[in-house]
């Protein structure tokens, strides 16, 4: 690799701090003409923050971005786009009630001479791009009516329609079928041939070998390694990402489970609309004291819905029985579930778990204000006395209990949610994707806490879409597929292959 001429985009010494977290710490990065730079790193390594800076979403605190050898400062994503940097975000940024074509050309619609949108040209141009992506939907289709994978392709179509010098793809294949992935790789090859520099964020090693040229690995807000792909082995990359040898990851000790604490029988959940199928069908499971039961399933398998049905969130559509500590309980609302001894830490923390305007203390005490109240009034001293042992137990890093929770990192927020539930003294903890969006170290801590809680006598039901996570923390593994329980394994029997096979609806397509 020679330096100089072929570098299209370069970041130098980028540092970015958010309240409570240093997201990036002196990061430098170079992307070359016609090459694909694979950016690797665990969740929370700082990849998305870096991409947001390159795409003009927010400025760096320190450091510079150079495009074709010139310093650039983007005020907003549009400015970055005009300069030739296109980005496909991990989260979908489409407008659901506009059509596919309108979304692709949003803000750049072809006009008629009268200044109105020229729908014929709009649809023709969109159709051409869709054909190239082999996305067989009409340009007039509303985005809301597409599958998630198809929506992701529309995002990519938008990038394809642009004349970009640099294209950033943030985990573009997370919802794509294997055929759609092939098409995308074809498009990427096209881009490379035209001299476009590509930054590609991914978790999947399989994809690297297919499209990658160079590799940069990030960890904890720093670049910890960069090299051409050909010079690295898979083991090198894993070691760089984890920063420690694999053997050092969380190790669960064998436990002897106690009496049954949660029994779910014939649980079914109908879909919301009429004529829809069942989201959960005839699921039976039990959790014993001290046992961690993991529920694995692909997107749409009904994992979250299972937890929600147990927790009383869909009383009208749920059938079946739930027994806690041997007592069958009618659960019509979360308050009933909590009274029976259940607690749910939801998947989407921000939307479903946190009160961002409230302090750490108020978040943690909300589920169990009883001990804080005397004479009808909340006593601040009692409130913090009630909650602080739990905050301490989970080693929440916060300057004070009165800090607003929005200023904490994702891992610490999740720990506050765990503290909140522990303060309410549940018998069974339901955890939905407990480590989503959390950095590696916090992840390991959470695994240790889950283990410790089980050992202290709780029953834990964990839903996860991360195979490794399930294998690491669960004593018993339940696999769901299309709303049904398709398999159950003990810790000793379970292997990644067995679990995946049970999770896939189409048993022939085990090509992961």
């Amino acid at each position: 690799m020679t330096d100089g001429g072929d570098i299209v985009l370069e970041a130098r010494g980028i540092t970015k701090t958010f309240p409570g977290v240093r997201a990036l710490d002196g990061v430098s990065l170079r992307v070359r003409r016609g090459r694909l730079l694979a950016l690797l790193g665990e969740n929370g390594a700082g990849k998305s923050t870096l991409m947001n800076i390159l795409a003009g979403v927010f400025p760096p605190d320190v450091g510079s971005v150079r495009l074709l050898g010139r310093d650039v400062h983007f005020a907003n994503p549009l400015a970055a786009l005009k300069a030739g940097i296109g980005i496909v975000f991990q989260e979908l940024n489409l407008i659901p009630h506009l059509s596919v074509a309108e979304n692709i050309f949003l803000g750049r619609e072809p006009r008629t001479r009268a200044g109105l949108i020229d729908y014929r040209r709009l649809h023709d141009q969109a159709a051409a791009i869709l054909a190239r992506l082999e996305l067989h939907v009409a340009p007039e289709t509303l985005v809301a009516d597409l599958r998630v994978g198809q929506q992701q392709l529309v995002e990519i179509a938008r990038a394809v329609s642009l004349d970009v010098k640099v294209l950033i793809l943030d985990e573009p294949t997370s919802s794509l079928s294997s055929h759609e992935v092939e098409v995308l790789f074809g498009v990427i090859a096209d881009f490379k041939r035209r001299g476009v520099a590509i930054i590609y964020i991914t978790h999947k090693f399989e994809e690297l070998g297919r499209v990658g040229d160079d590799v940069t690995v990030m960890r904890d807000g720093r670049v910890v390694g960069e090299a051409p792909l050909s010079e690295l082995t898979r083991e090198d990359i894993v070691r760089l990402m984890a920063g420690r040898d694999q053997g050092e990851t969380f190790q669960k000790e064998a436990t002897e489970p106690g009496a049954e604490v949660l029994r779910v029988e014939n649980l079914s959940l109908r879909g919301a609309g009429t004529g829809r199928g069942k989201l959960v069908e005839d699921v039976n499971l039990r959790v014993r004291r001290g046992e961690v039961v993991g529920v694995f399933g692909l997107v749409g398998a009904g994992r979250t819905e299972l937890l929600e049905a147990i927790y009383g969130l869909h009383p009208g559509r749920t059938t079946g029985t739930v027994a806690v500590d041997g007592k069958t309980t009618l659960i019509r609302r979360p308050a009933d579930a909590i009274a029976a001894g259940l607690a749910l830490a939801p998947e989407d923390r921000k939307r479903e778990g946190l009160f961002l305007e409230m302090s750490v203390l108020e978040n943690a005490s909300l589920a169990s204000l009883g001990p804080a109240v005397k004479g009808g009034l909340i006593r601040p001293a009692r409130e913090s006395a009630h909650v602080s042992p739990f905050i301490a137990r989970f080693r929440v890093k916060t300057p004070s209990l009165t800090q607003k929770i929005r200023n904490l990192s994702g891992g610490n927020q999740q720990k506050v949610i765990l503290a909140k539930w522990l303060a309410a003294r549940p018998k069974v903890l339901l955890l939905d994707e407990p480590t989503r969006g959390i950095d590696v170290n916090a992840k390991r801590e959470i695994y240790a806490f889950v283990d410790e809680l089980a050992r202290a006598g709780l029953g834990v039901l964990v839903v996860s879409s991360e195979l490794l996570e399930i294998l690491v923390i669960a004593d018993t593994i339940i696999v769901m597929c299309e709303g049904r329980k398709s398999a159950e394994f003990s810790r000793l029997e379970a292997t990644a292959e067995k679990i995946l096979t049970a999770a896939l609806p189409d048993k022939t397509a085990v090509a992961l």
């Binding site: 979360p334 409230m358 042992p389 209990l401």
Partner: protein, 355 residues
């Protein structure tokens, strides 16, 4: 043994606690919303102080004890409504019907006091004492508010729509009850609520101070108050935390209705007459006071004391402009400008907080 909190690890964690948490210890902040909220209130306080100072210089009739009570009495009605409105807005809702409920409650109370109510089926006429009429007025307000809450929770109507419906219903009922004519001459005892004074302080001011004190405590120090903030801050999370979200909302709208009833009594007693159009447009002044006081229209953030400042700012502004002989039409324009300015400043602060 089942209590996870007392697991053997707790000694170790206490060390971690000491290491993890530093700085000001727990319990030192003013709940519910800490420093940022105090800063916002501080800004409103400065704005109020500047206004008072300027008006004192511009008019020698402004800074007098009489005029002070005058202002307090003038804002008492709006503040009664606005305390209820603050609860509603904190919970993530809005109530457009408080002005109309004010009119209905005042009219019902006055009508019962003056004419009683004929129960045709039993051939009797119920007469009402002053206390009975007062209670009836508040109950009517609470009932209308409960209906709002029921419509919002049971039938999942957006608060804007449900309370807009109630606005029209309550206005219509007021017209039916009064036949479109004022109900006057209610007697001195009833009038005491509006025109009387205790220890030299007008009754409406006492009522207002008592309600403010009560609801400051409710919002800051009770579970119910905490739950209102939680529902407004994140309704889904509140539900998952086991809060009875619907009950809380119904309670909030019922309280707002009852407080509108109290405001209706004050207005009626003060004029010694229930006007069928009483309270027309008051909901907007009330929302303005809440917003100027720094309470977020999206819920979960704000305070009763902020609303008190909001009411004072509006009251001082109205009074001062009147003393300076500014045309009432200009007064409206200026009030609108103040609302926009207050919210714009609040938004700018919010942006700073978030980046």
């Amino acid at each position: 043994m089942t209590n996870p909190a007392s697991s053997p690890n707790s000694t170790k964690s206490e060390d971690a606690f000491a290491g993890g948490i530093s700085g000001p210890g727990p319990g030192t902040s003013s709940l519910p919303d800490g420093r940022a909220a105090r800063l916002r209130q501080f800004q409103s306080l400065i704005a109020l102080a500047v206004m008072v100072l300027a008006l004192s210089l511009l008019s020698d009739r402004f800074l007098t004890v009489d005029n002070g009570f005058n202002i307090l009495r003038q804002i008492s009605v709006n503040l009664c409504l606005s305390v209820g409105m603050t609860l509603v807005i904190l919970s993530g809702g809005i109530d457009l019907s408080v002005g109309a409920i004010l009119g209905l409650a005042g009219a019902v109370s006055a009508g019962l006091l003056k004419n009683g109510v004929a129960l045709a089926a039993f051939g009797v006429r119920l007469e009402f004492t002053v206390t009975g009429a007062i209670v009836a007025g508040i109950v009517v307000g609470a009932a209308a508010g409960w209906f709002n809450g029921a419509a919002i929770t049971r039938f999942r109507l957006p608060p804007f729509v449900a309370t807009l419906g109630m606005l029209s219903i309550a206005r219509g009922l007021t017209m039916l009850w009064t036949g479109g004519f004022p109900i006057t001459s209610l007697g001195e005892n009833f009038g005491f609520i509006g025109t009387g004074a205790l220890l030299g302080v007008p009754m409406p001011v006492w009522i207002m101070v008592a309600l403010v004190a009560l609801f400051v405590v409710v919002t800051r120090r009770t579970r119910f108050g905490r739950h209102i903030y939680a529902v407004g801050g994140n309704e889904r999370a509140a539900l998952l935390t086991g809060l009875r979200v619907n009950r809380i909302k119904v309670a909030v709208y019922t309280l707002a209705g009852a407080l509108a009833g109290v405001a209706g009594l004050i207005v009626t007693a003060r004029l010694d007459s229930a006007q069928p159009n009483a309270g027309l447009g008051y909901e907007l002044d009330s929302i303005a006071a809440v917003v100027i006081g720094g309470t977020s229209l999206s819920g979960g953030r704000g305070s009763i004391m902020g609303t008190v400042l909001g009411c004072l700012i509006i009251g001082v502004l109205n009074n001062g402009l009147f003393l300076l002989n500014v045309s009432p039409f200009w007064q409206q324009v200026i009030k609108g400008g103040v609302i926009l300015l207050a919210v714009a400043i609040d938004k700018m602060n919010a942006r700073e907080r978030e980046t």
